[in-house]
Structure formats: structure tokens, C-alpha cells
């Protein structure tokens, strides 16, 4: 094992060698010679980030339960290790068996964030695999991808052989069945791509030609082979209780971002916030039963020894039997002192009582996400939180002796005015007033105000909207900085340039593939990391490829424009999104699907959920 030999010394020279050693408890080791299909599951960021992601864990254990499949993990090496790998000519390798990635059958990436795309290219390069799909030959693995960003796969069209759209648990096994047949047939690589294009949820970009209008927008996308589907409908798991869920999670040695057991309680969200892509693409709402969750929780703690279990979903408070579930879990974990954490909790009197009982929340403080500063704008985005409710919850929290509160907002939302920005400051000062009312003073209060720049996303009602320009965002931030002063207030904002690029790639087309390639050549990687992000290198890439990024980020799209992502069918109808956009502009809210008033989003066309 050449890789093994060389690594011994190199690992002592990197900042965190534990990222690369594998061998964690519950990691799966198989004999490479007694398996049929070898698949690498890649997360295009460092170990600590990738190991905190649930999707990859589900697939890892699901695949490894099959005797003839060996799934291994690989993460992006941090720059210190990358440098050593390049210097010593060591190819990127998998964590479990330390096999070079180029020797795998499949190399699959999860796409959680647009700004990880350059890491995908870097990982392919470190593996010695051609970056462009068309340059690969029969000896190379198939490069596949899935995850939320795959809902607009086009910017990666030149690099990824095929995408899996939606929940991949079933689809991945079907793909592997096809692959076994293909492997025996000795047919050329291209044939396999044609074969998998017949699997529901699989999108093979090379099987489509894109015709553009003169203005650079898309005229149409047409299949270049007979029998290729015109629309790719996402995959959905019907019954969450029946769905596979691992219990023998890998227990990392190092402190990762979310270092705890994860219990997924439901998928989907019924609230219909108009900026939120997750709320649209993960429909319908499907819950796991309390019995199933209780059983899973016990098994997970038994097999991992974790001291904390986190309930995972898009909106924990919306789980219909939350109280019952928490009672059962707290009772079950009383003796073993396992803590329960509740992220994505909507804060109200009920949840505060819960929070006090079950979690170690005092240190981190409470987080509220009103998203916008005025009721008008909250109605526009359909974030149905009133100032009255928010201040009441804050008051309850202060009475329960919390003294650290975080408020999250977005700036640059459609229709936003100066008044909406001032509203953020007004809300902040109201929170301070409430604290004074409860405690008689403001000393001790820590109020964090955080703003991010709104990024219009595909398959949301705002997919037609332009993003505020960088200079507009700059002005908005300046105004907020001047308004959010005082010893209790800490104001942080996200890097707007990053949000700009995110907006470019989230609604981009396949012309952006060459920009990605150029950015990669300019050295762009780990763009989501402040210390690594170079806006200049990105702009250089756009210039050298003759692409105007503002075309994607700051252009108002027409109602009839053909979008790059129109080839994907997430079960959300364009007509519904347009109706929601119209209502947004009038400041009309849409009720939660749970209220029984169906808004006709279209998901019933492809699936039934518990709440829909």
C-alpha cells in the first residue's frame, strides 16, 4: 500500500491529521476484492463539515448494508494536506480503505451549497480524474451528484456525468442494479449514461442540447437521443416509517460541527415561506411516528454512545406529536443522561418550557428568525410571525432568565424599502425595551443581530426576482450599521460578495461551467471560508470567459422565461409559484398547508404526504 506508507509521516505535518485517518467507531470496512460495486461518497468540504451532514450518513449505511456494495467516504483535504498530497504525488484517497478515488466505480458528491462547486473540481483534479465529463473514458469512475443544489444542476453540467434529483435512497440502489448489468456487458461508458437516463429522478446533462435566444436566455433544452425524458421528476420516499434510517452512525474522534446523534423526525415543510427553497423542494410533509422515533433513538444511543441527540427537521415545532415524543425521549434517557437538542425550534411559551427541560440552551442563547423588519415585508415573504408574538416570546424568555438573544434577518428582499431596514433597528430596540421591562435594566443583555443577503432561489416564488446589487447591499449595510449601535447590540452581516456569487450559480445555466473551470484554475477553493474566498479571482474568471455575472444575479426575469431548471420537476407548479409571487407583491399571505386550505402547489400531482 503505497498511500499508507507515504501517509505515516505526512499526517504529522498537517494541522488536523484526524481528518484523514478514518477508522472511527462504526465505520465500515470491507474486503475490496469481494465486492461488486465500489462507491465513494464525497462531501466537498472538510471532514468536520461533511461528517455533520445527515444525507451522506444515510446513504453510507444504506449502501453498506448490501454485501456486494462498498461505500466509502471522502472529504475535501484542507489546504495544508492538499499541498503535501500534490508535492508527494499522492492521489486523493478514500477514508476507509485508502483507495485512490480514480479506482472507484462511482464518485458521488452531495451539493449542499453553491460555493462548494470549486472544491468538487479540485477533488477531481487531486484524484487524477478529468474534470470535464466528455473527457472521461471507460477507465474512470462515474461522477454523480445529488442534494438540494441539484435542483438546478446546470452550472455543473459539464462536470457531472449524471445527477440524482430528490431523495436518493431508492434511486441509488436502482442505479447500482443497472451498473452491475452494464459492467458485465462491457459496453462503452456512454451506453450506461443512456441506460440510467431511464431511471426516474436521473438527469444526464450530456443527453440534452441547450438552444439559446439572442439575449442569452434559454430558448429550449432538447434531448439529443431518442427516448430521453423531457422532464426529470424528483424521487420521493413515500412512507417515512418504512424508509431506511441508520442506527449505527459513525462516531468521529474529533470535534465536528454537529457532534451528536441525529434523529430525523420528518421531511418537508408546510409553511410556504416565499424565499425558502427547502420549504418548496422537500414537499410533501411526511412524519415518522413517535413509536418508530423512540425505537430509533434508543438504538442510536446504544450503538454510538453519544451524550446528545438532536431532533432534525426543517421546523421542529411543526412535528404534530412533539410533546409526546419529548416526554418519551426524556423519560428514556433519564438514567443515561443523554441530552436532547431541538434546533429549528419556533420560540413560543410552549417551546420555552420544553427547552428549559431538555436542552443546554442557556449558553448559546435563543435564536429568532423574523427575517424581515416590518409586518409588511414579513407578509410579502409569507413569514407569518407578528411583532407582538415575537416580543411576547422574547419576554417569556427573559422571564425564564435568558439574556442572550439572536435575531436573524435578510436584507435585499423583494419590495424592501428604507422603512423595512429601519424596522430591523426598531425591532432590536423593542427587544431591549422588553428586557428593561423584565429586568429593570439593560445590563447583561446580549442582543445579536445578524443579516444575510437575500438570494433568489429556483423553485421559489421569488425565482423571477433580481438580487439587490452589491452597491445597494453596501448602502443597506451602512444604514444598519449606523442604526444598530449600543452596548447591548452586536451586529454581524454576511459577506455580500459571496451571496452575489451564490445568486449567480443558484440560477445559472451551463455556460457557467467554463467560469467554474476558470475560477478553479485561478485557485478558487473553499469559497465559503472567509480566509480562502477571493472575489478578485472569481471576477477574473468571469472576465476571461466573457460572462457577465449580473445577467444571472441582478436581472429581472420575465414571466415566460425558460429557466435552466425547468427540466426538473420537483412537484411544484410554475403556476403556483407565479400566484404566490403576485400575492407577495400585494402583501397577501398564504396560510400554512396544515390549516386545511390547499394552495394547490402541485405536489399532490406526484405524491401524497401526511400534511398536504
Amino acid at each position: 500500500m503505497e498511500i499508507n506508507k507515504a501517509l505515516g509521516e505526512l499526517l504529522l505535518k498537517v494541522s488536523k491529521p484526524t481528518r484523514y485517518i478514518g477508522n472511527e467507531y462504526n465505520s465500515v470496512h470491507k474486503d475490496k476484492n469481494s465486492i461488486e460495486v465500489h462507491i465513494a461518497l464525497a462531501f466537498p468540504d472538510i471532514y468536520e463539515v461533511g461528517m455533520s451532514h445527515l444525507g451522506i450518513k444515510i446513504l453510507y449505511h444504506l449502501l453498506n448494508e448490501k454485501e456486494d456494495i462498498y461505500a466509502e467516504r471522502v472529504f475535501a483535504p484542507w489546504v495544508d494536506f492538499e499541498k503535501l498530497l500534490r508535492e508527494h504525488g499522492i492521489p486523493l484517497f478514500s477514508l476507509e480503505s485508502r483507495t485512490a478515488l480514480r479506482d472507484f466505480d462511482f464518485f458521488g458528491f452531495t451539493l449542499q451549497y453553491e460555493m462548494s462547486y470549486t472544491n468538487i473540481l479540485n477533488m477531481l483534479e487531486l484524484s487524477g480524474i478529468p474534470l470535464l465529463s466528455k473527457k472521461r473514458s471507460d477507465e474512470h469512475p462515474f461522477i454523480i451528484a445529488g442534494g438540494p443544489c441539484a435542483y438546478n444542476p446546470e452550472p455543473l453540467a459539464e462536470f457531472i456525468d449524471f445527477f440524482v434529483i430528490g431523495e436518493a435512497e431508492d434511486a441509488i440502489l436502482e442505479i447500482i442494479q443497472y451498473y452491475k448489468k452494464f459492467k458485465l456487458s462491457k459496453l462503452p461508458r456512454q451506453k450506461f449514461l443512456e441506460m440510467v437516463s431511464q431511471i426516474k429522478g436521473v438527469y444526464v446533462p450530456s443527453l440534452y442540447d441547450v438552444i439559446y435566444n439572442e439575449d442569452g436566455t434559454i430558448k429550449e433544452m432538447i434531448p439529443n437521443k431518442v427516448g430521453v425524458p423531457l422532464k426529470i421528476q424528483k424521487r420521493i420516499i413515500k412512507d417515512m416509517d418504512e424508509a431506511y434510517y441508520p442506527t449505527k452512525f459513525i462516531v468521529p474522534y474529533m470535534d465536528i460541527v454537529h457532534d451528536r446523534a441525529v434523529l430525523e423526525i420528518f421531511r418537508g415543510c408546510s409553511r410556504g415561506c416565499r424565499f425558502c427553497q427547502a420549504g418548496m423542494i422537500y414537499r410533501p410533509v411526511r412524519e415518522k411516528s413517535v413509536d418508530r422515533l423512540q425505537k430509533l433513538a434508543e438504538e442510536i444511543i446504544d450503538s454510538t454512545g453519544y451524550e446528545e441527540i438532536s431532533l432534525s427537521s426543517l421546523s421542529t415545532s411543526d412535528y404534530s406529536s412533539l410533546k409526546q415524543l419529548l416526554e418519551k425521549l426524556t423519560e428514556g434517557f433519564e438514567r443515561s443522561k443523554v441530552g436532547i437538542s431541538l434546533p429549528s425550534l419556533r420560540i413560543d411559551a410552549f417551546s420555552l418550557q420544553l427547552a428549559q427541560k431538555v436542552q443546554e440552551i442557556k449558553k448559546s442563547g435563543l435564536t429568532f428568525a423574523p427575517e424581515a423588519g416590518t409586518q409588511r415585508l414579513r407578509d410579502v415573504i409569507n413569514k407569518c410571525v407578528s411583532e407582538h408574538d415575537l416580543l411576547n416570546s422574547v419576554k417569556d424568555a427573559f422571564i425564564c432568565e435568558w439574556n442572550s438573544v439572536k435575531l436573524y434577518f435578510m436584507i435585499g428582499l423583494p419590495t424592501e424599502t428604507v422603512d423595512d431596514l429601519e424596522g430591523i433597528a426598531r425591532l432590536a430596540h423593542s427587544v431591549i425595551d422588553v428586557y428593561r421591562e423584565v429586568n429593570g435594566k439593560t445590563k447583561g443583555l446580549k442582543l445579536n443581530i445578524s443579516t444575510s443577503t437575500f438570494v433568489p432561489k429556483p423553485f421559489t416564488p421569488f425565482q423571477w426576482e433580481k438580487q439587490a446589487t452589491l452597491s445597494q447591499i453596501d448602502e443597506k449595510q451602512k444604514l444598519l450599521k449606523s442604526l444598530l449601535r449600543g452596548r447591548n447590540i452586536h451586529y454581524n452581516w454576511h459577506e455580500a460578495k459571496l451571496s452575489f456569487l451564490e445568486a449567480v450559480f443558484s440560477r445559472g445555466d451551463r455556460k457557467l461551467s467554463k467560469v467554474l473551470l476558470s475560477a478553479h484554475k485561478n485557485g478558487c477553493k473553499f469559497d465559503g471560508w472567509d480566509e480562502m474566498f477571493s472575489y478578485e479571482n472569481w471576477m477574473k474568471a468571469f472576465r476571461s470567459e466573457g460572462i457577465n455575472p449580473e445577467f444571472y444575479a441582478n436581472r429581472q426575469r420575465g414571466e415566460n422565461e425558460h429557466f435552466p431548471w425547468d427540466i426538473i420537476d420537483p412537484g411544484i407548479d410554475k403556476k403556483f409559484l407565479l400566484r404566490e409571487l403576485e400575492k407577495a407583491k400585494k402583501g397577501e399571505i398564504s396560510p400554512d398547508c396544515r390549516s386545511g386550505k390547499c394552495q394547490g402547489c402541485g405536489i399532490k400531482r406526484i405524491a401524497d404526504g401526511d400534511i398536504c
Partner: protein, 226 residues
């Protein structure tokens, strides 16, 4: 309340994990083994586990120690078996016993290391033996150590208890070192080799460091923790 002392090894597979990582790994393994642990009071109860001394990253060991408190009586052999069945490859419990009659872990002041070294230039066994004996008789051995980013000088002469040559081959040697550890001063094999380089007037590369055991060194006598 029951307090048990465990001797364990951390081998090649896990030599890269930090002390903190190892503490977390043991706490989770004990929960997996379903052992009746005692917990600290407060909002985040933690199991009561105390480790002897942090092992530097990159060093393997067959003589690490921890004391663990339990709420109920439990057989030491049983604890070892149950823990070993749920520990990751690379950690192994070698011995478990009651703490009574054994010195406190906090009183340990010495450690025994096996250090493999490589020479660039050929030297004879006799030169090496003479070098070791010179080192042991030096009144003052100054080594540099970086403390919070600043380089400081230390005299380790009184903190090197013993060095012996275990094996010798062309360009290679294995040394047994008994060095001070803990409050009186932490001496690492790296420091000794630095001093050794000065005496031999040549570069000496360390290829492997292994901690074999820890002990209390008093009046020339060694007492072991278990």
C-alpha cells in the same frame, strides 16, 4: 461509589488523535458498554473520568491510565471485557483494578519511552554508548521549547532519570528513556534527542516514539500505578 483504575494502550491507528478526542472517545465507549457511570452535577452532566497525562499526538503507548467512577459495584474484569468490545480499533484496555492501594494518578512524575532513532551518518555502537553516558553525566542540559509561541530555554539535566541503548543496527538505534513528567517538568524524547544531537555533533531523526509506562520516581525507586 466505586473507583476503578484502567491501564490502556493507544496504538498506531490512533496516534494522531488528540488527548481531548481520546477523552471523548472513552466517554462514549463507556456509554455504549452500558456501564453504571457516575456523573458530575449540573446542567451538562459529565462522566467522572480522570486521565493520568496527555499523550502527545504522534506517540503510541501501552501504558496509559485513567480513573473512572461508577455508581454501582462492578467487577473489574467485567469492565475490561465490556469496554474492549465497544472500543474503536486502536484503543485497548489492558488491565482494570480498584484504585485502593495504588498511588494517585496526580502523583506520577515519570514516564518510560521507547524511542527509535535514525542517523544520517554511520556511527559506531561505542560512540553512541559514550554519547549516552556523556548525556547522563552532564550537569546542565539546555534545550529549547516553544511555550505559547515563544522559544524558552530549559535545563533538563536533573529531569532525565535514565537512558539505555536497547538495540543497535547500522544507522538505527532504539533507546529506552526514563524521563520526568508532570509538575516537576515534562521532558519529551524529542528534547533528549535535541541534546543528543549536540553531543554527537550530527543530525538524529526520530522515527517512532512509544510510551511504555508511567511511574512515581522517588529516591531512585519506581512505583507503578497498577
Amino acid at each position: 461509589m466505586l473507583k476503578l483504575r484502567m491501564r490502556f494502550e493507544k496504538n498506531d491507528l490512533l496516534k494522531y488523535i488528540s488527548h481531548l478526542d481520546m477523552m471523548r472517545t472513552f466517554a462514549r465507549a463507556m456509554r455504549r458498554a452500558n456501564l453504571p457511570l457516575s456523573f458530575s452535577q449540573g446542567f451538562t452532566p459529565r462522566p467522572k473520568i480522570v486521565f493520568a497525562s496527555a499523550l502527545p499526538v504522534g506517540v503510541t503507548s501501552s501504558g496509559e491510565y485513567m480513573d473512572v467512577e461508577f455508581e454501582e459495584e462492578i467487577e473489574p474484569e467485567d469492565v475490561a471485557a465490556r469496554l474492549n468490545s465497544v472500543l474503536p480499533r486502536g484503543l485497548f484496555i489492558k488491565k482494570v483494578n480498584h484504585t485502593q492501594g495504588h498511588p494517585a494518578l496526580s502523583s506520577l512524575n515519570g514516564a518510560l519511552y521507547l524511542t527509535d532513532i535514525i542517523f544520517n551518518i554511520d556511527i559506531s555502537k561505542q560512540i553512541l554508548i559514550n554519547g549516552i553516558s556523556d548525556l547522563l553525566t552532564e550537569k546542565c542540559i539546555i534545550v529549547e521549547k516553544s511555550v505559547r509561541g515563544k522559544t524558552k530555554q530549559f535545563d533538563i539535566a536533573s529531569l532525565v532519570y535514565d537512558i539505555r541503548l536497547l538495540s543497535f543496527a547500522k544507522g538505527f538505534a532504539q533507546l529506552n528513556m526514563e524521563l520526568s513528567m508532570g509538575q516537576e517538568g515534562n521532558v519529551t524524547p524529542q528534547m533528549v534527542i535535541m541534546a543528543f544531537e549536540k553531543i554527537l555533533h550530527q543530525e538524529v531523526k526520530i522515527s517512532k516514539v512509544h510510551r511504555e509506562d508511567m511511574f512515581i520516581y522517588k529516591n531512585g525507586n519506581k512505583t507503578f500505578p497498577l
